[in-house]
């Protein structure tokens, strides 16, 4: 049986991890490669690197980082952040990324999803959707959740699937940073209406939240950052807890 995936997310700026990480055993806490290796060894199923740098050299720096990660890490990883063209994706995949994640650029130019899926295959195209519940309706937000649109989350997700995305990374802006759990109601709707895997993101605070998002939210994978970076949750303990709750995981 296919297992549920646990995915740590690393924010990257100019080739370095951004958010403070609390790994005392790291020689260099800012080195994404070393952190990635530790996560791979500790049982992470995949990794996501989200590049938030905005420099001219961004593309080259990111490609170098991707190559260094691919050399060292023996689990799959996704790269996202500011990807807006076929060429961007080509460079990242050629340097060893397994998947790329596109977000705002897909909303601005939905045909990009079709182009990428046709050229590289759906399996390596993740579409990230940031959404926020406003007056009862889930609306897609852009630029890291800062800019609202009038696009309905569920309609957009369906369109993303039809255009050829291989999976969806859904971040609830209502839940992100709260540590009060994932947006399981919306996730469950996405998961039952769509036929591609859904990654839950935003709100992880404790192990029960992960159990809930897999069981109630029907998520296929769960992504989190700070609970892992600050060692509030060890991946191995989390997976043992999930297994005790009847959730199939790789242990």
């Amino acid at each position: 049986m296919l297992t549920k995936r646990i995915i740590p997310c690393l924010d990257i700026k100019d080739g370095r991890t951004v958010k403070g990480v609390n790994f005392i055993d790291l020689r260099d806490a800012g080195d994404p490669v070393e952190l990635a290796e530790i996560y791979a060894k500790s049982g992470a199923d995949e990794l996501v690197f989200l590049d938030i740098s905005a420099t001219e050299e961004k593309r080259k720096t990111l490609a170098n980082l991707v190559r260094r990660v691919a050399e060292k890490v023996n689990i799959p990883f996704t790269v996202g952040g500011g990807i807006s063209s076929v060429e961007d994706v080509d460079i990242l995949l050629k340097n060893g990324a397994d998947k790329v994640s596109i977000n705002s650029s897909a909303v601005k130019n939905p045909d990009l999803i079709n182009e990428l899926a046709a050229k590289f295959g759906s399996q390596c195209i993740t579409v990230a959707i940031d959404a926020k519940q406003v007056n009862g309706e889930w609306l897609v937000h852009l630029v890291g959740g800062k800019v609202p649109t009038d696009i309905n989350l569920f309609q957009w997700a369906k369109e993303v699937e039809e255009r050829g995305a291989g999976e969806i990374l859904f971040t609830s802006m209502n839940n992100d940073g709260t540590k009060e759990g994932f947006a399981n109601e919306a996730l469950a709707v996405l998961s039952s209406e769509l036929n591609i895997p859904i990654i839950a993101s935003g709100g992880a605070g404790n192990m029960q939240h992960f159990c809930d998002t897999f069981i109630e939210g029907k998520a296929d994978a769960a992504l989190a950052a700070s609970v892992f970076h600050f060692k509030e949750i060890e991946i191995k303990d989390l997976k043992e807890e999930l297994r005790r709750n009847g959730v199939e995981v790789r242990l």
């Binding site: 049986m1 297992t3 023996n74 689990i75 060893g96 046709a118 399996q123 291989g166 999976e167 895997p197």
Partner: protein, 200 residues
């Protein structure tokens, strides 16, 4: 040992090269028939869509070369699927090395299957040191049906072939280069395969 990864423009081949390097070997990428024929081990990767991958293979003439290879050959993911008789994806005739058809997963399931699943009924030296039920990383929408050449199975709504062997030709549906330590062990086992092994 000369290891050649067939480079015909399909897929993420850097990862395979890096995985081989982590095992202490060097692999070269090539689309040159003579280079491929002179290798001790050949890896036939592939990611993407079957009919366009087959077109790329035909345009380089490699569709004629691969079935004639005498050294151990490992097809990975789409590479393995293209070595089969027929792929439903894009109505594509395969290389006909493995006597099995490749069909799409049932729509009741999420497709593609993305993630870690178990391999079992392991019967090949490819799996020396690998436990029954070991986890490997898979990403695919189409699967190879069970057949006489199956050497490992996986369950995703249906029981299907996750590894296959005929004579010197091996295929794995999963990505050994992305399947953590177990995947690297399987890749290493392939690199240690000697000629004329048979299915146990």
């Amino acid at each position: 040992m000369k290891i050649v990864i067939i480079d015909y423009g399909a897929g993420n081949i850097q990862s395979i090269k890096f995985a081989i390097k982590r095992l202490g070997y060097e692999a070269i990428l090539s689309s040159d028939a003579e280079e491929i024929k002179s290798a001790d081990k050949v890896i036939f990767p592939g990611v993407g869509e079957a009919s366009s991958a087959m077109k790329m293979l035909k345009s380089t003439g490699l569709d004629k070369v691969i079935p004639t290879l005498k050294q151990p050959v490992l097809g990975i993911c789409l590479g393995m699927q293209l070595m089969c008789t027929y792929c439903e994806e894009g109505d594509t005739d395969g290389l006909g090395i493995f006597h099995a058809d490749v069909v799409k997963f049932d729509n009741q399931l999420k497709v593609p299957q993305i993630g870690w699943n178990k391999i079992y009924d392991l019967r090949s030296e490819l799996f020396t040191g690998i436990s029954e039920g070991e986890f490997v990383y898979l990403v695919h929408s189409f699967y190879v049906k069970e057949c006489a050449e199956t050497i490992a199975s996986t369950e995703y709504g249906v029981e299907y072939t996750s590894a296959i062997q005929k004579d010197n030709f091996y295929g794995v549906q999963f990505h050994p280069e992305k399947s953590s330590d177990a995947g690297e062990k399987i890749l290493e086992n392939f690199l240690k395969v000697t000629q004329s092994n048979t299915v146990k």
